[in-house]
Amino acid sequence: MAKAILNCTINGKQIEEYIDVRMSLADFLHNDEGLTSVKKGCEVGECGACTVLIDGETFDSCIYLAIWANGKSIRTLEGLEDREGHLSDIQQAFVDEGAVQCGFCTPGFIMSSVPIIESGKSYTRNEIRKLISGNFCRCTGYEKIIDAIEKTMQKRLDDKKA
């Protein structure tokens, strides 16, 4: 089967790999790169557990061919911690607000939250709901997830003003 060279940046690190063209980005990140935050849930682009950022936009990596990422910059949950392994503000907010129960959907939700909190814009709860509508959580009922995103968004906006 055909193979191709994949050149891309993952969490700030430049990589070059020779990969099977049939591989999904989710498989590549999880299995080859050891980024186990990238979860395969439905594998058909419905649940959002495999959400990663590609050039700043959210994608379901399970239905994204790994070779499409050539020349692009990918971010996964692992890229949010600082060098010492401290959680980022949005991760900590998920813990503090009780937005995590079984945890399977959490990395995907947090990656969908990143463009929201990094946008510098203020979103209403309904707008946040729409922006995370591609992620499914079967435990929490969403309210606490929205709390965590809203609080982090607000804190960043306040810090910016100060």
Partner: protein, 295 residues
């Protein structure tokens, strides 16, 4: 691993068209939110792939000198919605594709893939029909221009020859100028759902904003393919804005549609939706155009 065999990877559009002529059986892969899922589900398993997703020359939205809006087929739904030209001249299209799936699907799904799939529920289809979009279809030898009105041949079947690719979607100036529209997607959920019924209406009012100068209406899931409802359009011409207009349009639309029962909804419910959504979308379009309803 996705189960496909040969993988053709053109470096530009010219090479893609040559490869397509040489391998007409290869499935064209754009954003993949339908094709990759069909492969995984076994329906297209073992097929050959012509991978065009990386062809950036097929992305973007621009306006020609004559005012024709040109949407390149690999533009993602989210980029259509965010585009300043779309927001200014055909906001209805941006609003319609903002109802597809969820954010991740709108980032990967392409407007060209949406209409080339030929399914009746495509959220971009009814608005593109209602705006008399024109398609540019290319092969290695040249290109032809086809009204989108003539593109759908049947469920999942479009007038795309084996060696052709959709290379542009165009909306003529005459079609969007002084024109205001509204799209309603009716579905069971507010996200991650396929339309039970979709209705796109747009109107151009007379100078005094008292009568309808042109009304166009199209539906998704009201027939085996996305369709225009010309009987309803005729009824609206020259009329003022009141409840009888809405009733007459809704009733006339039934002459054009052919809904069926599916697991999503019964035929009877779809007939109800066709009438109700026609009324709501028309009323909203008139309001957006500055018309005073019951005024």
């Amino acid at each position: 691993m996705f189960d496909f065999k040969e993988f053709y990877q053109p470096k530009d559009l010219a090479e893609a068209l040559e490869m397509h002529a040489e391998h007409p059986e290869a499935v064209v892969l754009a954003g993949g939110s339908d094709v990759l899922i069909k492969i995984r589900g076994g329906r297209e398993a073992g097929c050959d792939i012509l991978n065009i997703y990386g062809l950036d020359e097929l992305r973007g939205i621009s306006m020609n000198q004559d005012g024709t809006l040109v949407i390149l087929p690999l533009t993602s739904f989210s980029h259509v919605t965010r585009d300043p030209i779309i927001q200014k001249y055909v906001p209805t299209l941006g609003e319609a594709v903002d109802l597809v799936g969820g954010p991740q699907i709108r980032n990967i799904g392409t407007i060209g893939g949406n209409i080339c799939n030929g399914v009746t529920s495509a959220d971009s289809a009814s608005t593109l029909k209602a705006y008399d979009a024109v398609l540019e279809l290319s092969n290695a030898k040249g290109k032809r221009i086809l009204p989108y009105a003539d593109f759908n041949l049947g469920p999942g079947k479009v007038d795309l020859r084996p060696d052709e690719l959709l290379t542009a979607i165009m909306i003529p100036k005459e079609s969007y100028e002084h024109t205001y529209g509204h799209y309603i997607k009716y579905a069971m959920r507010r996200a991650m759902d396929i339309a039970t019924l979709g209705c796109s209406v747009n109107v151009r009012l007379d100078k005094e904003k008292l009568h309808i100068d042109r009304m166009r209406i199209a539906f998704g899931v009201a027939a085996p393919t996305p369709i225009r409802a010309f009987s309803a359009e005729k009824v609206a011409y020259g009329r003022g804005f009141d409840e009888t207009l809405l009733d007459d349009v809704a009733k006339a639309a039934l002459d054009d549609v052919n809904p069926r029962s599916s697991w999503r909804a019964s035929k009877e419910f779809r007939i109800h939706l066709i009438q109700e959504l026609s009324k709501r979308a028309l009323k909203r379009s008139i309001e957006k155009a500055g018309g005073n309803f019951n005024g």
